[in-house]
């Protein structure tokens, strides 16, 4: 029922200059590695990217930064990336920082048709500037608006040909909400299954949210290898 691609470039080639895209992942975990690399190949420019982080200098979304394909990042934490810092300080790159809980809820809201919701996060901080506030039960809350995107890129451990997705461990992170908030959602899956092979009670992302599927082998680079003796 869904378009199943074999070329990553084909899967992303209609992502146009100036598009707003959302990309799943937390740090380097759960990022759609090959879809990101395909954007390097298409060379699409002036992207607005909504993603919790921006990769590292030589991996993940950091690759698109290096290649100067990004106009604006909407993220909660971008501290792992020197090129990011350089571009922001030079004015080449715009950045909008959003508290992580607000960011994840804004994306969920966008996908769920909720144009705005109230949250305590950011009240009395620079984040509140220019935002409406409202008092509920004597406490002040900020109005945060839903976020949507032209394209959403997610990664899942398992997908079926109908578009149902299952994530692995903390590689789930932002992927489920991002899958709901793109006009077109493209899922890079580690393993593709026939329809009916995934248990219906265990689906994290129901098929309705996914328009394109492609199987990708992941490097899964580790940002901070920490081991016990």
């Amino acid at each position: 029922m869904k378009s199943i691609h074999t070329s990553f470039v084909d899967a992303v080639k209609d992502i146009h200059d100036g598009a707003t895209i959302m990309v799943g992942g937390f740090g380097l975990v759960g990022i759609p590695e090959n879809l990101i690399k395909a954007l390097l190949e298409t060379g699409v420019k002036d992207l607005t990217i909504i993603s919790n982080n921006c990769g590292v200098d030589d991996w993940g979304l950091g690759l698109l930064l290096q290649n100067k394909q990004v106009k604006k990042m909407i993220s909660s934490y971008v501290g792992e990336n020197k090129e990011f810092e350089r571009q922001v300080l030079s004015g080449e790159l715009e950045v909008e920082l959003v508290p992580q809980g607000s960011l994840s809820e804004k994306i969920r809201a966008g996908g769920a048709g909720i144009p705005g919701f109230y949250t305590p996060a950011g009240v009395g901080t620079p984040i509140a500037e220019g935002k409406e506030t409202k008092v509920f039960n004597g406490k002040e809350y900020l109005l945060e608006e839903g976020l949507v995107a032209d394209f959403s890129l997610v990664r899942a451990a398992k997908g079926d040909k109908m578009g149902n997705l299952i994530y692995n461990k903390t590689a789930q992170n932002f992927n489920p909400m991002i899958a709901t908030a793109g006009k077109v959602t493209i899922a890079e899956v580690e393993e593709l299954y026939e329809i009916g092979e995934l248990p219906p009670d265990q689906i994290h992302t129901p098929s309705v949210y996914v328009q394109r599927l492609i199987v990708g082998k992941q490097e899964k680079r580790i940002e901070r290898l920490t081991v016990s003796e």
Binding site: G101, S104, N168, H204, R224, V227
Partner: protein, 213 residues
């Protein structure tokens, strides 16, 4: 025992049996090393894990399993994984008993600054702004003074805030101080320091708890 270890060991006493706890990145993460085996405690990681376990052995590293500090971890028996939206629903909804976080500055009314130094590169607030409002109790652990020896506990924060009126308790290498409606209350003084030492390295006037000389 160095300062970090001393602070982490003291912070461990904040963790009660049966608690669900979120430990911030950096020094707060160290607190996990000292949690008594007599307490059943579940650690939450805002990237979507309830039940953080110890760091993995070299052979059991799973690149899909990290904590909010992006370190490879394991999961305990009875853990669960979920999305970031669910994770912050849990946090914002008041289901986490305790958050232990680091700080650059804390003000006497409980204001917290721990994410941004103007003029320096902004790295982002991550989940801190959500945690300070969501957790039932917010405990700050930090050095009592900065590298120049100046107080980090202030009448008013000079740095941009993470949250207003959100801190319940401050644990430093020198003291334990509670944020109360009447002001900051000194409740413990670490070995090697006097009440006067603490007041001298703290900008606001401290209320001294009964029994502290």
């Amino acid at each position: 025992m160095n300062n970090r270890e001393r602070i982490a060991r003291r912070a461990e006493k904040e963790v009660q049996d049966g608690f669900f706890v979120n430990l911030g990145i950096g020094m707060p993460t160290l607190v996990a090393n000292y949690i008594s085996d007599n307490k059943q405690v579940v650690l939450q990681s805002e990237n979507g894990l309830l039940g953080i376990g110890p760091y993995p052995t070299k052979d059991s590293v799973d690149p899909d399993l990290i904590n909010a500090g992006k370190e490879t971890v394991t999961a305990i028996k009875g853990a669960s994984y979920f999305s970031s939206a669910e994770s912050f629903a849990m946090i914002r909804g008041g289901h986490i008993d305790l958050a232990i976080l680091g700080a650059m500055e804390v003000a006497e009314n409980g204001d917290l600054a721990n994410w941004m130094i103007p003029g320096k590169m902004i790295k982002g607030m991550g989940g801190a702004m959500d945690l300070v409002h969501g957790a039932q109790r917010v405990v700050i652990i930090m050095d009592h003074v900065n590298r120049k020896g100046e107080p980090k506990i202030l009448k008013k924060c000079s740095l941009p805030l993470t949250g207003k009126n959100v801190v319940n308790r401050i644990i430093t290498d020198r003291a334990v101080i509670d944020v109360t409606e009447e002001g900051l209350k000194l409740v413990e003084v670490m070995e090697g320091f006097t009440v006067e030492d603490i007041q001298n390295s703290t900008e606001p006037e401290l209320i001294i708890a009964e029994g502290l000389k």
